[in-house]
């Protein structure tokens, strides 16, 4: 029960400070769940985000549900999602009832422009850390640059990029011979556990 409440409050905090798309929640998820609590591994967050990006629905909600499930099953998923959407409900209901012309209030505009800059800085930091934690192979670097350029220069779907990079990952591990050995180990593990 205690863990469920903690999941709820962490995602409430994440929902309160996510400005922008689903990617903007990643620095806070990493800080809370990887650095502070050590509940999940850093690479798990990016796996969950990739899954959230390639399934229907709101990416941030998908990522919250996926992360919550990995922490505490269905209950964890519900706690994370409820926590994440509750700040939206409260803030938007408040704005809708009191500020008819919210976007014309210059104080909020100035704050938001600067917050966007902070989000860009946090994202650059996350990308640098992802590189530092990766296998630093030429292949990974190639995939990173290719994905970046395809998305920036062409209006290509992120889902396509994720599916293509998944296929590329399987292919390169196969060509390196890693897939075959990993598969043998996996089979042996299953036999042992039987």
């Amino acid at each position: 029960m205690k863990k469920i409440l903690k999941i709820f409050f962490i995602f409430f905090k994440i929902g309160s400070f996510t400005f922008g798309g689903g990617y903007a929640m990643l620095p806070i998820i990493k800080r809370e769940l990887v650095d502070n609590l050590g509940w999940i591994q850093e690479k798990d967050i990016y796996n969950y985000y990739a899954i959230g990006q390639s399934t229907p629905g709101i990416i941030a909600v998908n990522t919250a549900t996926m992360t919550g499930y990995s922490l505490q099953g269905v209950k964890g998923a519900l706690a994370a999602t409820t926590g994440f959407i509750l700040p939206s409900l409260i803030i938007i209901t408040f704005i809708a009832s009191f500020f008819k012309r919210f976007q014309e209030i210059s104080v909020f505009q100035h704050a938001f422009t600067a917050i966007q800059i902070a989000v860009v800085a946090l994202i650059i930091d996350i990308v640098i850390k992802m590189w530092q934690k990766s296998d630093k192979s030429k292949f990974s670097f190639f995939l990173f640059i290719l994905a970046f350029l395809l998305l920036v220069l062409f209006d290509i779907s992120p889902v396509f990029v994720i599916l293509a990079s998944a296929a590329a990952g399987v292919l390169i591990q196969y060509l390196r011979g890693n897939l075959q050995t990993a598969y043998e180990n996996y089979q042996n593990q299953i036999k042992e556990s039987d």
Partner: protein, 187 residues
């Protein structure tokens, strides 16, 4: 009845909208035209507010439209409707992912996906910076390099980035500090 319609329509948007942020926009436009809940201009205003407040843009917009249509309960129901397909689909996927994430095929697929996700996140930051902050489109308009960078924004970006790398504080601290700087220096 209006609550049922709100739930069902937003459930459909949640089920069929694939992609971040504004992927749901065409669906929402169809929706408000179909029911006459508001004008296209009101919808654009709501999206502008939803983009500049905390939380997922889609969720914020759903709360907004639901509230305007049927009060507080409307906001809650529209939001739950939008999030419900995500929760159901992801719980099913998560169940199988936890079973198979040790499988060599899944592991090798994610070894390719992770660098691509870094590229994906990087491109999101690039688009946020080029559209909202540095206004790269101005360069094409008057071809003047002076307008290429907004020096005030660039300076703030560098200061924040250096602070993040050096002090390693909680991300919330940088967001809150930036908000205060933005108000003081009128960004």
């Amino acid at each position: 009845m209006i609550y049922f319609i709100l739930f069902l329509e937003f459930f459909k948007v949640g089920l069929f909208a694939l992609g971040g942020g504004l992927a749901a926009l065409p669906f929402l436009q169809d929706l408000i035209v179909k029911y006459g809940w508001m004008t296209a201009e009101e919808l654009l205003n709501m999206i502008a507010v939803s983009e500049s407040t905390p939380g997922a843009i889609g969720i914020n917009t759903a709360t907004f439209i639901g509230y305007n249509t049927a009060g507080i309960a409307g906001g809650v129901i529209a939001t739950i409707g939008l999030a419900a397909p995500s929760v159901i689909i992801i719980i099913i996927i998560a169940h199988y992912f936890q079973k198979f994430n040790q499988h060599p095929l899944v592991e090798s697929a994610f070894s390719g996906i992770r660098p691509a996700v870094a590229g994906l996140i990087g491109s999101a930051a690039f688009e946020l910076a080029s559209g909202g902050i540095f206004e790269l489109n101005k360069l094409q308009l008057n071809n003047n390099l002076k307008n290429f960078f907004d020096y005030k924004s660039l300076l703030l970006l560098i200061i924040i980035l250096v602070s993040i790398r050096k002090f390693k504080k909680h991300p919330v601290i940088y967001i809150a500090t930036a908000a205060i700087i933005g108000i003081i220096f009128k960004f």
